[in-house]
């Protein structure tokens, strides 16, 4: 074990524990004090952000791979340890999570207020015991806690536990808190009927989400147990510790039979591919994102799904290098399909949120492509991509949420000419969209180009095909913008108010961040690069050399 | 003599076995197949008596007696009482309601029987001591010795079980009257309020020759009135309708009266 267990303050545990405490505290707020609950949740999320920043600062990129490690025995009989540790990738993603949650909470400020008007009657009856607001924010914080700890876990079993537990709060967030847009969307029937239909849609989406991920999780569980058995056979005493296993494999104490390794790899990969999601396991995402409120949708795609891609980097590649190489071609093809397929479907959508969802599928295709291209640029780009995609999708989706909450419809066709009446909203929406189509100067461009270059340098054909994705991205984003924001002003949107202060506070920092990371991503790359190099050394793949040695600047200047 | 009967299966016992075994099996089959519960009960009683005999033949004298006394005597009578309570003549239709139940049941029974027989056939039952030594000090004493030494706890527990069962039975069957019984006045008022059958029910038909509660009385037009028979009998369909023969008797009576009057007239003519 080359890691020093720092006896000092357990920073990582704290980072995960604070939001958990926050969840409990928020849930405990009495029903009448809704606003108090909101502020409490916001405070806790900000505290988490502070902690995450401390982690970010205290992390030395040059240092050893896993830092601020903590390790305690948990279930001694099965060699399960409570083992935390962060490498550059994890640090970046924890920072992203902690950063996004406050915005999500702010954006969802009114999403969980008990509905006025239509069902206030029934609400008044329950208002003593019925506490949707507290529940909403508590669940969000709970998700944050679980995501953070699964970014930190270096023990496979520990990771698995939280990877699965995450589903429970997500399930309730999706199924329990629908879009305020729903009734108006079913304007054909009465609002009540609309509510009805929306509710069924919602529960369908939630159940679908749950079943998909549970299926993946179960297969992974089998693989986890298998891994334990193998280690128990070879090392004498079974273990789940990532570092131990990696070292054992490096030193040759633990050598898996090819078949076994491949099966285990597939077991792990399947779960992550569902979560990521990778074609053809993606169909849960559009329903989930379409039916849930915009903040929750952001939570799904920007935070929770990242666990999947992150786990591919940390577990699939490091635990099963050989199998990863073996599976690479198939996975590359799948991710390629995801890129093109997702983009094409996004073009074909009539529903704003589903459009963003399919766009995300396309982007996840890029991320996985980068991971399995097995080049420094590819994996570095993929990691940046996780962060940037989180921010850009958050920006786009949250603004879309504001838009939807104003008009009360998710259908693109119901909008038009918004730019005229709400220029700021339209502007922010456009910037979010441009980030999504990875315009240079905005953060996603850097990561996308890195992924493309990284892929191209090893698999030129795949790289070229993936490049079509950028054209399609332009297509769906601009079509969306044109249909909603430009053209003659529709009567329904004529009196649409522009962004309010709260909403600006949500969007402006995200956009600023997008610009900053687009112009000066170096801080991020410095953190990420060592981790990526380490991963690649485990897999032992090295960047292909350039064909010719270029003339250096000095002679070039002649 | 019983000692001898204990360990040599004499031809007499064989004869007895073959005859009674048939009886027992037939009885068992009837128990299952009879339409009316009463008949089943009686057939079962017969089978049990046969079994008692077999016990005796097997040297279990005490059990044989107990079998007759407890089973055939007490248990079966209990059964009969319950049958009476429920209704002797209430025959349950043999039409099967559950699809395929009967065939499944038959198959199970048959298969099970085959299995048992096969098992016994395969079992290596070579040893055959007979109860000579065991029953040397008398069968009852032998049992007593075992019961009060080796099986004493089991014995005590079965005692407790019996008591519990008795109490349980009482608790189950006893019905506490929760509300006050209606007084006669209240009943009368209720009758008046509902407005049907205000006066007492009419008495059953009573004739010189018939005097029974199961005969309905006749209405003036000669038809019978169901009301006059207690509803329990009505429910069991045990109403004896004798109105027909009653009318016939009436006719005969009148004719005879005619004849007598005629004779009287003839006697007057002779007197002149």
């Amino acid at each position: 074990m080359s890691q020093v267990v720092n006896a000092g303050f357990p920073l990582l545990t704290a980072t995960a524990a604070v939001p958990a405490l926050g969840a409990v505290a928020t849930a405990a707020v009495p029903a009448a004090r809704r606003t108090a609950a909101k502020w409490l949740a916001l405070a806790f999320s900000l505290a988490t952000l502070a902690l995450a920043l401390v982690v970010l600062v205290r992390f030395e990129p040059g240092g050893e791979q896993y830092q601020m490690a903590e390790s305690h025995a948990w279930i001694a009989d099965f060699g399960v340890r409570y083992e935390l540790g962060v490498d550059g990738i994890a640090v970046a993603l924890i920072a992203l999570t902690a950063l996004l949650i406050p915005f999500i909470i702010l954006a969802g400020w009114h999403d969980a207020d008990p509905l006025a008007g239509s069902d206030s009657g029934s609400d008044a009856g329950r208002s003593y015991s019925w506490r949707p607001t507290q529940g909403f924010f508590a669940l969000i914080l709970m998700v944050e806690a679980m995501v953070v700890i699964s970014f930190e876990a270096t023990d496979v079993f520990l990771f698995y536990v939280f990877f699965e537990a995450m589903l429970i709060p997500m399930y309730f967030l999706i199924g329990g808190f629908g879009d305020r847009a729903a009734p108006a969307q079913f304007a054909a029937g009465t609002a009540g009927g609309g509510d009805e239909a929306a509710a069924t849609q919602r529960s369908y989406a939630a159940v679908k989400f749950l079943l998909y991920n549970l299926a993946g999780g179960l297969i992974m569980l089998a693989a986890v147990i298998g891994l334990y058995a193998v280690t128990a056979d070879d090392l004498g005493q079974g273990t789940f510790s990532l570092q131990q296993i990696v070292q054992a494999r490096a030193s040759g104490d633990l050598d898996l039979a090819t078949g076994t390794e491949r099966l285990l790899f597939l077991g792990f990969f399947f779960a992550f591919a569902v979560k990521a999601p990778l074609w053809p396991l993606h169909t849960w995402l559009p329903n989930a994102m379409g039916e849930s409120t915009a903040p929750v949708a952001v939570l799904i795609t920007a935070v929770v799904d990242k666990v999947g891609t992150f786990a591919m980097l940390r577990f699939c590649l490091q635990l099963f290098p050989e199998a990863s190489k073996w599976a690479t071609p198939a996975i590359l093809v799948l991710s390629l399909i995801s890129i093109v397929y997702g983009a094409l479907l996004a073009v074909g959508q009539r529903d704003i949120k589903r459009l963003v969802a399919y766009a995300s599928i396309s982007h996840f295709g890029f991320i996985i492509l980068g991971i399995f291209a097995m080049t420094t640029q590819g994996q570095g780009g993929a990691t940046l991509y996780m962060v940037n995609h989180g921010i850009s999708t958050a920006a786009l989706m949250l603004v879309a949420g504001f838009l939807i909450s104003r008009r009360g419809s998710r259908l693109i066709a119901d909008y038009g000419g918004v730019q005229k009446v709400a220029p700021v909203l339209a502007g922010t929406f456009l910037i979010g969209g441009l980030a999504t189509l990875s315009l240079p100067g905005l953060a996603p461009f850097v990561s996308e180009f890195l992924v493309l270059v990284g892929t191209f340098s090893r698999y030129p054909v795949i790289g070229i095909i993936a490049t079509f994705g950028i054209v399609l991205a332009a297509l769906y984003v601009l079509v969306l913008y044109q249909r909603t924001m430009t053209g003659p002003v529709k009567d329904e949107v004529r009196h649409m108010p522009d962004l309010r202060i709260r909403e600006l506070v949500v969007v402006a920092p995200l956009i600023a961040l997008l610009l900053f990371l687009g112009v000066y991503p170096k801080p991020l790359t410095d953190i990420v690069n060592p981790a990526v190099d380490h991963t690649l050394s485990v897999v032992d793949r090295h960047d292909p050399k350039s064909d010719v040695e270029p003339v250096r600047e000095t002679e070039a200047a002649k | 003599m019983n000692a001898a009967a204990a360990y040599t299966t004499s031809t007499g016992e064989a004869f007895q076995f073959w005859v009674l075994a048939v009886v027992a099996v037939v009885g068992a089959l009837c128990t299952v197949l009879m339409k009316k519960a009463v008949h089943s009960a009686l057939c079962l009683a017969g089978t049990m008596i046969v079994l008692a005999v077999f016990y005796l033949a097997n040297g279990a004298y005490f059990l044989g007696i107990v079998q007759i006394v407890v089973y055939t005597g007490a248990v079966m009578m209990l059964f009969l009482f319950v049958v009476m309570l429920v209704g002797v003549t209430a025959a349950d239709s043999l039409k099967e309601t559950l699809k395929g139940q009967r065939w499944l049941a038959a198959a199970c029974g048959l298969g099970f029987g085959v299995l048992l027989l096969a098992g016994i056939g395969n079992a290596s039952l070579t040893s055959f001591e007979g109860l000579g030594k065991a029953n040397a000090g008398g069968n009852v004493e032998g049992l007593a010795a075992l019961i009060f030494t080796k099986y004493v706890f089991a014995f005590e527990i079965t005692g407790a079980l019996l008591i519990t069962a008795a109490i349980g039975a009482m608790v189950l069957t006893h019905r506490e009257r929760t509300e006050r019984a209606a007084t006669q006045r209240e009943q009368a008022e209720a009758r008046v309020r509902t407005g049907k059958q205000v006066p007492p029910l009419p008495a059953p038909g009573v004739y010189a020759r018939h005097n029974a509660v199961d005969i309905p009385g006749l209405l003036p037009d000669g038809t019978t009135s169901e009301l006059t028979v207690s509803e329990t009998l009505r429910a069991r369909g045990q109403i004896r309708d004798v109105s027909g023969e009653a009318l016939a008797d009436l006719a005969a009576l009148e004719q005879r009266a005619e004849a007598r009057l005629g004779r009287i007239e003839r006697a007057e003519e002779a007197g002149k």
């Binding site: 094409l344 420094t376 441009l434 490049t467 053209g487 991503p521 270029p550 | 559950l98 099970f112």
Partner: protein, 631 residues
């Protein structure tokens, strides 16, 4: 001195930021902020120019390294600038013309309530364009490349309440994206080949790479150039781009942005020199576009669309020249600059006309305007003479040189290219004369429009006429100045390595031919439009005319093949996703549900059937044990 380069970009960028984030309170002064910052950037450009002149020809390349942008493994992208003679030329053109057009716009956009945002976009464009020409590596160039694309998107769609404008903007961006795809692939190729994509190393080490790779790079670069410079087959967007305000058409879609492709090819000259095949494709594309644009220009009645066709064709000349290699680069750039002057002037003139005619664009509704707006007439006329290559005006010098170089390509190629160039010159003369006559000569043909308000043609305000005058000067004298003992060629030589072409025809002969075809073209146009009155309703026209009115059916092709096909593809995919991919999952779920539903019936609640199952189970168990024993 070097660190002024950053300021060059920073000034307009600042302007864009201030104007776009500033909010309403800047509405009154916004346009002036825009002009001042554009002007500032021009001044900086001039200062740098002076500084550069002071230096010797060799060390005239100024560099500024700001910071390392994306360092990942071998992938080192810096934010660094390189200002050499080529970039300098562009900087002056962009900032100069840009500033003029800013000033012009203050008048042109006076009555638009979103004028502030308009100037914000214009500044944004300047910044991006400067970044494009100042970048010292291809990735940074790509940033500028897409940046100008964005600015053009925003400006084309500036009047976005018009669906046509919004659609045109979208179309422009997406078609450009196709080109950008080519450019990005080129960058990837460079990275995998050379391990870098900075101009210096890449261009210096072309001799070490295989020709196949270089051809691939060249072709992908050309694809990018086609997108940005509206060359066949990616030219379809330029015509629609005229939906934007006229200053935009003048600045972006005539003078600067659309010439970025020429810059790219010239800048990557070393790569093309090393791969004749790529060069051949370039000249072919140039020649085809040259004719294509010219023909389209002949048929359009919309004055701006006619000018757009002309732009396309003129850029075709430049691409053609650039494709000729060292003998053409300098002339390509020279024509680019002169074209920047006169085409901007023409567009501003057209804008001024529209300004006076209630934004009427149909030339058939003009006529005889020379008396109503004399200044416009004169400036427009000078631009006209320049573009048709009237001897002594700037267009003459640059175009003449290109035609000469085309002949100098040598062999049949040379003859063909030269012939095409000459033909193009003739057609240019024809359609420009047509525009001129239909607009300014003949009797007035305008009628009251739907609301019945008669247009009252009037001269535009000073703010608009002054820039037109300045540009007119440029279009008259620029060519001459540049050609004084080949000043321009010498100026560019260190960058683009000039060599004299050996034309089979003598220079004099070429010149004579050029003038001759020009006269023929003018004469034809005069015969057709000058002698008899122009019908207000467009005649049906020949097949070619009708095709040309529809951009030679290129849009129809796109619509049928790409748009319609794409729609079908996406729709079928959506269906597929719903039925097949999702259907599998839902099917499984449904089957499980059905099975359990059937199993539920076993629990019928009848004690006897439970008893049967128990008893049967017991029987099975016994049988099993017996069998075990038996075995």
């Amino acid at each position: 001195m070097e660190n002024l380069i950053g300021l060059l970009i920073a000034a307009p960028l600042l302007g864009a930021a201030v104007l776009l984030c500033g909010g309403r309170r800047l509405d009154r002064v916004g346009h002036w902020i825009g002009c001042v910052l554009a002007g500032a950037s021009f001044v900086i450009g001039v200062v740098l120019f002076a500084h550069m002149l002071a230096l010797g020809g060799e060390e005239r390349t100024l560099r500024e390294h700001l910071f390392s942008w994306v360092p990942v493994g071998g992938f080192q992208a810096d934010v660094a600038f390189q200002l050499d003679q080529l970039s300098m030329t562009f900087v002056l053109l962009i900032t100069g013309v840009g500033t003029l057009i800013h000033v012009y716009s203050t008048g042109y956009m006076e009555h638009d309530e979103r004028r502030r945002r308009f100037f914000g976009y214009l500044n944004l464009f300047l910044a991006a364009m400067l970044l494009l020409v100042l970048a010292d590596n291809y990735l940074l160039l790509y940033v500028g490349w897409e940046g100008v694309g964005l600015a053009s998107y925003l400006l084309i769609g500036f009047w976005q309440h018009k669906p046509s404008a919004a659609t045109a903007a979208k179309k422009a961006f997406i078609v450009n994206r196709v080109g950008d795809m080519g450019l990005s692939i080129a960058i990837m190729l460079m990275f995998t080949t050379f391990g870098t994509f900075a101009f210096g190393p890449v261009l210096a080490s072309t001799d070490r790479a295989s020709e196949g790779v270089l051809t691939a790079i060249g072709l992908t670069l050309l694809l990018g150039a086609c997108g940005k410079s509206a060359q066949v087959p990616l030219q379809s967007w330029l015509g629609d781009a005229m939906e934007g305000p006229t200053p935009v058409s003048a600045l972006i879609h005539a003078a600067t942005m659309v010439t970025a492709g020429v810059y790219l090819i010239t800048r990557s000259g070393a790569i093309f020199n090393a791969s004749p095949d790529a060069q051949l494709v370039v000249v072919v594309v140039g020649a085809v576009t040259l004719l294509f644009g010219a023909i389209v220009g002949c048929a359009k009645d919309d004055i701006k669309k006619a000018l757009a066709g002309s732009t396309m064709s003129q850029i075709g000349y430049m691409i053609l020249a650039a494709g000729l290699g060292p003998i053409g680069y300098a002339f390509a750039i020279m024509h680019l600059v002169t074209h920047g002057f006169f085409k901007a002037g023409l567009f501003l003139g057209a804008g001024s006309v529209m300004h006076g005619m209630n934004d009427e664009v149909d030339m058939r509704k003009y006529g005889g305007l020379r008396t109503y707006m004399p200044i416009t007439f004169v400036t427009f006329g000078l631009g006209y003479l320049a573009i048709i290559g009237f001897p002594g005006l700037s267009g003459f010098f640059s175009k003449d040189k290109i035609i000469e170089a085309a002949f100098a390509k040598g062999g049949t190629e040379g003859w063909i290219l030269g012939g095409v160039a000459l033909l193009g010159a003739a057609i240019t003369a024809y359609y420009m004369t047509r525009v001129m006559i239909m607009t300014f000569f003949g009797e007035k043909r305008w009628q009251p429009d739907a609301e019945g308000n008669e247009p009252h043609p009037h001269e535009s305000p000073k703010s608009m006429t002054i820039p037109m005058i300045v540009l007119a000067f440029g279009s008259v004298f620029a060519g001459g100045l540049f050609s004084l003992n080949e000043a321009f060629v010498k100026w560019l030589e260190p960058v683009t390595s000039f060599e004299h072409g050996h034309s089979p025809l003598s220079a004099g002969a070429v010149t004579g031919a050029t003038v001759a075809v020009m006269v023929i073209g003018v004469a034809l146009a005069w015969a057709q439009y000058g002698r008899r009155p122009v019908p207000v309703a467009a005649p049906r026209g020949s097949l070619l005319t009708r095709a040309a009115r529809r951009d030679l059916l290129q849009d129809d092709f796109n619509h049928v093949v790409l748009v319609r096909g794409g729609e079908h593809l996406t729709r079928s995919l959506v269906y597929l996703d719903h039925t097949v991919v999702d259907g599998v999952v839902n099917g499984t779920a449904a089957s499980v549900g059905g099975l359990s539903g059937r199993l539920r019936k076993v629990q019928n609640g009848y004690a006897r059937s439970y008893a049967v199952s128990m008893f049967g189970g017991a029987a099975v168990l016994i049988a099993a044990t017996l069998l075990m024993r038996a075995v």
